[in-house]
């Protein structure tokens, strides 16, 4: 089948599913769930058909786009642009998305509003696929807002709870702030380049006709900061955990928040080195800070949310270092292990009757062996234990910071290295703490006492995502485990098309299959610029410190696990840090007092300014202009209404008057 038709089908499946659920199955319960899961299955199948049938040539241009609006020279297209980075993202969204749909069936079994939930998931899949395939800035913005909407809708799934309603509002508003900059950036980019199409902008920059502009890059970056919850817009993500756990796994860990990173990778060629440096520092700092903040939470999901922030920071750091391929690779690995961690937490929460406090759990390993094993695998993966998926991407990012520093001789990169290395320590700290507290020791509450393993709907996704993918998703990058099968379409556990970008980034041009693309940057700040895993390892090897780098990362990981093992103990019922050092614990729990600062700003500054404007509006615009003109129009309306007397004689005279009026015109009297 034509790839264009496949793309269309891919987008239509979730849209149709959402439409059917919204129109007919709002109280449909299990039927709605079935429709949505089937749609997710359809997406997965079609995605893999696309990936297997694709020959590696970028798909885009006129054949893959529809003109949507056209006024003179002003034109907006809806189209597809399919390249290696979209292939990776598509594989992640389709595959992880499907298993989270399956998991949701089990998790939401006692929910009254399945129709709304599964309809929302379908809308989300539609919007997310739109972002993945979008060919231009306008289109990506539309779908960007649609994922924002579906996230808003799903966070507020338990809308009768105040905190859920407030969290959804917060997520929505904070994202709008980022999107404002994003929108201005799009307008500027369109004005400057004369097109919003990725491929065309790309060609303009590659040919040297136009240069990337730092201002545009910074504005577009605002969209990334909002969606991927980076400083200063990070405050919404932890609150968003008020939504159902599968939503946290799918939207707020695996895919939507990573869309920010994906977008930055997509427009990598129009980010100047200055913009990349800003991204690098913001994200490296966030990787470390969020890691510490995770230690100040007793809610299992919130702790994981800070872990997500920290790992989004890693992705941003990889991007800022100039390795888009590596950023996407960490995104993909993170999608596997973080989705697993959330799903495990969902399985635990479900088993403990919606108890989310870790210190009321404990001893769940024996009661929930499958969940426990999946959680352990994902923990080892996120902490970058060798051979596990996270090791390949995360350790490479840490090493790459050092490698780039050694190559360019710029000592600032060593600072970044230090930040992400400490972040690696925090990873094993909070993950070790979580594992020991939740799964080992004795149950700390009645609910944990009676917990038992979840049903197959939930355990099968845990086995696939947790045990297989958290372990093996990164093997394609290994030099010993990168076996190919299925005619070379698959490498280790992933489709080969999906691994290419992670390995090579935009450097694919060297082997000729990606010719004419973005490899020719005007000013490369360092050698591996624009590349992926391979280029990062070149940098590490070139620095000559490979053993030291590997050793230090490994030591950090080990240190974290050992420290927490002895500090927290097995299955404690209280947070030892909280009882021993309440000051430090509170500082971590307050995560930098950002919420308080923003609250103060809104209440004291913005509110007052708004009040002044409101007064002016009431007096001038509403009072004088609106009410005034409405009054005049209403007065005329009363007069003209009274002309319809209902008397047929009167109407006939109207006609005669009309004829006379027309006649006067004809004879030139008017």
């Amino acid at each position: 089948m034509d790839t264009l038709a496949l793309f269309n089908i891919l987008l239509f499946i979730p849209l149709v599913s959402a439409g059917i659920i919204a129109l007919f199955l709002r109280r449909g319960g299990i039927v709605a769930a079935g429709v949505s899961v089937l749609a997710a299955l359809g997406i997965a199948v079609v995605s893999f058909m696309i990936l297997f049938g694709w020959n590696g040539e970028p798909l885009g241009g006129d054949h893959y786009s529809y003109t949507w609006l056209e006024f003179g020279t002003y034109q907006i297209n809806l189209g597809y642009y399919f390249t290696y980075e979209s292939a990776t993202m598509l594989a992640v969204v389709a595959f992880v998305g499907f298993f989270i749909h399956v998991f949701s069936v089990g998790y939401m079994d006692d929910d009254q509003n399945k129709g709304r939930f599964f309809g929302g998931l379908s809308i989300f899949m539609f919007s997310m696929l739109g972002i993945v395939l979008a060919s231009n800035l306008f289109m990506i913005f539309i779908f960007w807002e649609l994922v924002g909407f579906s996230s808003y809708m799903l966070i507020a799934h338990y809308w009768d709870k105040d905190f859920a309603a407030a969290a959804s509002k917060k997520a929505f508003i904070v994202n709008r702030i980022g999107d404002f900059g994003f929108l201005v950036g799009i307008a500027w980019a369109y004005h400057y380049f004369g097109t919003a199409d990725f491929a065309e902008i790309n060609a303009l920059i590659a040919s040297g006709e136009k240069h990337a502009v730092t201002g545009i890059g910074l504005l577009l970056m605002c969209g990334f900061l909002g969606k991927s919850a980076q400083f200063p817009l990070q405050v919404w993500l932890t609150d968003a955990m008020a939504g159902p756990t599968p939503v946290s796994a799918l939207i707020h860990a695996a895919t939507m928040v990573a869309a920010g990173v994906y977008f930055m990778v997509r427009i990598f060629f129009l980010l100047t080195p200055d913009v990349l440096e800003v991204i690098m520092w913001i994200c490296a700092a966030m990787a470390m800070l969020a890691g510490f903040w995770a230690l100040g939470q007793s809610d299992i999901k919130k702790s994981l949310a800070y872990s997500t922030l920290s790992h989004l920071g890693y992705m941003g750091t990889a991007l800022g270092l100039g390795f888009p391929g590596l950023a996407i690779m960490h995104m993909a690995m993170h999608a596997c292990f973080k989705a697993t961690l959330f799903l495990c937490s969902g399985s635990v929460i479900h088993a403990c009757h919606h108890e989310q406090d870790m210190f009321k759990m404990g001893g769940l390993w024996k009661k929930m062996p499958i969940t426990g094993t999946a959680f352990l695998f994902a923990t080892l993966s996120i902490a970058a234990v060798p051979m596990f998926a996270g090791y390949y991407s995360k350790d490479t990012i840490i090493g790459a910071a050092f490698g780039v520093g050694a190559e360019t001789g710029n000592s600032a990169y060593y600072g970044v290295w230090a930040l992400v290395l400490i972040a690696a320590l925090t990873t094993s700290l909070y993950m070790g703490r979580m594992f020991y507290v939740v799964f080992l020791g004795k149950p700390n509450s009645e609910k944990a006492e009676h917990a038992h393993e979840s049903n197959l709907w939930m355990t099968v996704p845990l086995i696939v995502l947790g045990i297989f993918l958290s372990l093996g998703a990164g093997w394609f990058a290994s030099s010993t485990l990168d076996f190919k099968w299925a005619n070379g379409e698959m490498t280790a556990m992933l489709p080969t098309d999906a691994t290419t970008f992670m390995m090579d980034g935009y450097d694919v041009a060297e082997d000729g299959s990606h010719a004419g693309d973005t490899a020719h940057h005007v000013d490369k700040p360092h050698h591996g610029y624009g590349g992926g895993f391979t280029a990062a390892h070149h940098a590490i090897d070139a620095s000559g410190q490979k053993t030291m780098l590997e050793g230090s990362s490994f030591a950090m990981m080990l240190l974290g696990f050992i420290f927490t093992f002895f500090y927290y103990g097995l299955g404690p019922s209280k947070d030892k840090l909280q009882t021993q050092l309440p000051g430090l614990y509170n500082a971590l729990a307050k995560h930098g007092w950002f919420d308080d600062i923003y609250d103060w700003y809104v209440a004291e500054v913005q509110e007052r300014f708004a009040n002044i404007l409101a007064t002016l509006d009431q007096l001038l615009i509403s009072g004088l202009l609106v009410r005034g003109t409405a009054g005049v129009a209403g007065l005329f309306g009363m007069v003209s209404r009274s002309l319809h007397v209902g008397n047929i004689h009167g109407y006939v005279y109207w006609f005669l008057a009309g004829v006379l009026f027309f006649g006067a015109f004809a004879l030139g009297m008017l």
């Binding site: 129009a633 003209s640 209404r641 109407y651 006939v652 004829v659 004809a666």
Partner: protein
């Protein structure tokens, strides 16, 4: 005329060229026969036959729309000539007629009235409209126009137990007859003038648009021609409800059964506009010095009058009627732009008519469902809290009204935009200003209606207990699908307007 002449004329009688009109007549006759011969227990088949027959015809027509249509030239001795718009307008009238029949099913289920005649008349009238928009001869025009009008006399007073309906029927009869008389008088004057051998380019075939056009081009200053032309325009203005011939609209729209109101608002108005377009671009093309200022003045007054008068109305059928006058005003702007010679204008008008069709039938669909037995008493108050009682209907209403008001991204917005672009290209800045003011005013009453449905709570706590208006039951699946389809098309036409008429 000698024998050869007749033979040449007979050669142009290509019955196959008007097969859609013949099919409509066939469906009508089939309905009539079924009514005669079917046992009364089987009579419920009749609306099905009427609706599915027309749907089948519509499907064939829509498939044909995609093919390139070549003008067949004058047919039936110059009586009929299909133009570039004909395929679209055929589909338009069949679609509208189908929807009217569909609403009729819902309406008639609540009334103790004869059933089959309703479908029969609707189908015949629509067939006549399809002929009307192709007529290229005043005789043909008048005959098909009268077929339409006489059908409407009956349809408007169809609810013969309701004094409102009867009163509306009487008003429509008298004013319709008056306007027909004016129209006929104008035709006669033109006939007389064009047959005068003393004048240049006089013709023996002076009812024919082409011949008449040549004559008028040669003698555009002749007073008889001018008076004749404006009298014809008067007659058409009655059809489209332009000021000062709008005066019948609110009363008749209110009194007529709701499906007939929809029929009047959509099909009858569209037919009037197509005739006006044919005249302005055809025989009256040389009179643009007269038609442009005259129609411009009418357009401005119509837009402002319609919108301002709709402001304080509480009866929704009157609101629709008065807002329909305003829509006629916007469309007149397009006609003026067409008379000035803007190529975009006719397509803008046709797009607008389609957008108006989908949005209006969405709103009428909601109205028919909510109406009680007393069809003419439908107040805005009845829509209070509709969003809570019937969220689906409230959503359909919001999109329908939004499209009528011209809110992006709905079809109505693009329709208005196209009309305004045409007016801009024709440099009709005053008209453009009036139209924009009109749109702003219209938002007020359309949104007032929506506000009632979504936000207003009953003023007194006791009101909730005893609603004075009918509380209709749940929406059936077919009604949901139909309304949903109309709404989806309205949204899609707003999002993808390219390619509908080839750009």
């Amino acid at each position: 005329m000698n024998y050869n002449g007749f033979q040449e004329l007979a050669a142009t009688n290509q019955w196959s060229a008007i097969w859609p009109e013949l099919s409509m007549a066939g469906i009508g006759l089939l309905v009539l026969c079924l009514d005669l011969f079917l046992p009364s227990s089987r009579k419920r088949l009749i609306p099905l036959v009427a609706i599915f027959g027309q749907l089948a015809l519509l499907a064939v027509l829509v498939m044909g729309c995609g093919c390139a249509t070549e003008s067949t030239g004058p047919l039936f001795g110059g009586m009929i000539e299909s133009g570039p718009y004909t395929p679209y307008m055929r589909a338009f009238f069949v679609l509208s007629s189908t929807l009217v029949c569909y609403l009729g099913v819902s309406y008639l289920s609540r009334q103790n009235l004869p059933r089959s005649e309703f479908y029969l008349l609707t189908i015949f009238v629509s067939g006549a409209m399809m002929l009307l928009v192709q007529s290229s001869n005043f005789v043909m025009l008048f005959v098909s126009l009268e077929t339409v009008t006489i059908g409407f006399y009956v349809l408007v007073s169809y609810c013969r137990y309701s004094p409102f309906s009867l009163e509306a029927g009487l008003k429509y009869l008298i004013l319709g007859a008056l306007s027909s008389a004016i129209l006929l008088f104008g035709i006669v004057l033109l006939y007389g003038a064009a047959s005068n051998p003393a004048l240049a380019q006089s013709t023996t075939d002076s009812m024919n648009f082409a011949a008449l056009g040549k004559f008028i081009a040669a003698t555009p200053e002749e007073p008889l021609v001018l008076v004749g032309a404006v009298l014809v325009l008067c007659g058409i203005c009655f059809k489209i409800g332009a000021v000062p011939f709008q005066i019948w609209v609110p009363d008749v729209y209110q009194g007529a059964p709701t499906p007939v109101t929809a029929f009047l608002a959509v099909s009858s108005k569209a037919a009037g506009f197509l005739v006006l377009m044919n005249l302005v671009a055809g025989p009256f093309a040389a009179l643009s010095k007269l038609t442009v200022p005259l129609l411009s003045a009418i357009a401005i007054i119509t837009i402002l009058f319609g919108n301002i008068t709709a402001l304080g109305q509480r009866n929704v059928k009157r609101v629709i009627g008065l807002s329909g006058i305003a829509h006629a005003g916007y469309l007149l702007v397009g006609v003026v732009a067409m008379a000035v010679g803007v190529a975009l204008a006719p397509w803008a008008i046709i797009f607008y008519l389609f957008a108006y069709l989908f949005a209006s039938f969405a709103v009428f669909g909601v109205m028919v469902h909510l109406a009680g037995v007393e069809d003419e008493i439908q107040e805005i108050d009845h829509y209070q809290k509709l969003a809570e009682r019937q969220p689906f209907l409230a959503g359909v209403l919001a999109i329908g009204l939004g499209s009528l008001a011209g809110i992006p991204p709905l079809a109505g917005f693009i329709g208005k935009l196209l009309l305004f672009i045409a007016a801009f290209q024709a440099e009709l800045y005053t008209l453009l200003g009036a139209a924009i003011i009109g749109v702003v005013i219209s938002v007020y009453y359309y949104f007032g209606w929506m506000r009632e449905a979504f936000f207003i709570k009953p003023a007194l706590p006791g009101d909730e207990a005893r609603p004075s208006y009918p509380m209709p039951g749940a929406v059936g699946i077919i009604h949901k699908l139909t309304l949903g389809l109309l709404v989806v098309i309205t949204v899609l036409m707003g999002l993808f307007q390219r390619g509908i008429f080839g750009g």
